[in-house]
């Protein structure tokens, strides 16, 4: 469903992605691990065109996204409207939740269907209530985000993305900003989505979660994929030294740099 070939991206002089290649099948859950600055969030942001990319190509359902070749054979960026169309199919949940603070939880979830797909208010409301129920927050529908805990806000954020009925869901370190006790409720929702067959790319530091839920793990470091494979191999028995060092923290050695 997703094919990434030799993805290259620089921020000014800094080359963050140096040729990333991987694919995601329909219904697959891919977890991306890596140290800070490795480019894992950038990969995610390229997948839904929040970032442009300079080299390589990303295909979703066979079609290249973000760029096209014009009549002269030159690589030309797509218009914002085309990018927006793609983003209707690729949902994203952020580390800092990014709920709209001036709207209730219900209004937040309704925002996509109502304002992007032009659904009728009643229909949008029904869908939104259903999704809030699915993430366990039906009783918080009329609360404003400021009254919700971090875990609740993040679950509303997931419901908000799901309201657009995307083909793919992207999760960018969605539990990194949460109190440890609130992490579980969010992971539970994500795991349920995985069991329902949603195609997902998840950037996370939750290693046990990654091991249980993912079909494949990618380890990104220095802008390239250093290792990839099933979690039983990559996490339990890493081959590369970099990955071994990275995982040491999760085996009790919390002082490792």
């Amino acid at each position: 469903m997703i094919e990434v070939k030799e993805l290259k991206k620089s921020f000014g002089a800094l080359e963050v992605l140096k040729g990333v290649t991987f694919g995601v099948d329909k219904g697959e859950v891919v977890v991306v691990l890596g140290p800070s600055g490795s480019g894992k969030s950038t990969v995610l942001r390229c997948l839904n065109l929040l970032e442009d990319y300079e080299g390589g190509e990303i295909r979703i359902d066979g079609a290249v996204i973000g760029y096209r070749t014009n009549a002269n054979g030159q690589r030309v960026a797509c218009h914002e409207a085309e990018k927006a169309k793609l983003r209707e199919q690729v949902g994203m949940v952020f580390q800092s939740f990014n709920l709209f603070p001036h709207r209730t939880a219900l209004d937040n979830v309704m925002m996509g269907p109502l304002r992007v797909r032009g659904a009728a208010r009643k229909e949008a409301r029904t869908l939104a209530l259903e999704l809030l129920g699915k993430v366990g927050l039906a009783d918080k529908a009329d609360e404003y985000p400021i009254r919700l805990s971090g875990g609740q806000q993040q679950r509303v954020a997931i419901a908000r993305s799901l309201a657009m009925q995307p083909k793919v869901m992207l999760f960018d370190e969605v539990t990194s900003a949460l109190d440890p006790e609130l992490v579980g409720e969010v992971l539970r929702v994500i795991r349920q989505l995985a069991q329902e067959g949603m195609t997902m790319v998840i950037v996370t530091h939750e290693i046990p979660f990654a091991r249980d839920v993912s079909d494949r793990v990618l380890f990104v470091d220095g802008g390239v994929i250093v290792e990839q494979g099933p979690p039983s191999k990559v996490i339990a028995d890493p081959s590369s030294d970099r990955l071994k060092l990275f995982l040491r923290r999760y085996q009790g050695d919390y002082l490792v740099a």
Binding site: V90, H102, G112, I146
Partner: protein, 215 residues
């Protein structure tokens, strides 16, 4: 003790009415101008932004009195006849507009980038993002400083007396010239300006509490 003040109070109050009218016009049109200019700076390209920056920097670098004097003498210099009120009214609107533009521009910029990223991720287009996500939040951020700015505008209307436009301060100086009871007259003027401005200060505080609750 305050006899002279009390005797001349009706005249002062007539002046206060003119001040109120002037304030209303300057604040309304100045805010309107500033909002349009500020938003243009936010959505416009580099040329528009450069023009707005010039406008704001120039007017923030000149005292309002000088702007008004310039405005007053600009009309005859360019060959127009205009009454004092119009000339200085226009000058003050342009002056206030610069400050409002800056308030609006920075309010829009202070909406967190994550909000825009989230809206984009839902497939929203630029107009929709502005309308449903950015402007509602920017407006809440901008209202308290805009109210404070309006307070400044109201007090600045007293400067028009310098070019002979009659309002509260001018009326007060006329009375002082006639009666020489300067201190009590200006005490009275102070009280009147305060009474005009105080409700607005309270409104600004209330708005601060109410509007920023969601943040």
């Amino acid at each position: 003790m305050l006899n002279t003040l009390l005797a001349n109070l009706p005249y002062l109050l007539k002046g206060a009415v003119v001040t109120l009218w002037l304030s209303l016009i300057v604040v309304t049109f100045g805010t309107l101008l500033g909002v349009i200019v500020g938003l243009c700076a936010n959505v416009g390209g580099r040329l528009v932004q450069a023009l707005v920056t010039t406008y704001v920097f120039v007017l923030r670098g000149i005292p309002v009195l000088v702007v008004m004097l310039l405005g007053y003498y600009a009309f005859p210099a360019l060959g127009f006849r205009a009454n004092a009120y119009l000339a200085v009214g226009v000058a003050q609107v342009i002056y206030i507009g610069a400050f409002v533009a800056e308030i609006v521009r920075s309010a829009v910029l202070s909406v967190p980038a994550g909000q825009i990223a989230a809206a984009k991720s839902l497939g929203m287009l630029r107009i929709g993002i502005l309308r449903h996500v950015v402007l509602p939040q920017a407006a809440r951020i901008a209202v308290p400083p805009l109210l404070n700015n309006s307070l400044t505008a109201i007090k600045q209307t007293s400067y028009v007396s310098v070019v002979g436009a009659w309002e509260l301060t001018y009326a007060a100086r006329e009375i002082v010239e006639r009666t020489l009871a300067a201190f009590q007259i200006f005490l009275g003027v102070m009280a009147i300006y305060f009474l005009i401005c105080y409700p607005l200060s309270l409104l600004a505080r209330w708005c601060e509490k109410r509007l920023l609750v969601a943040h």
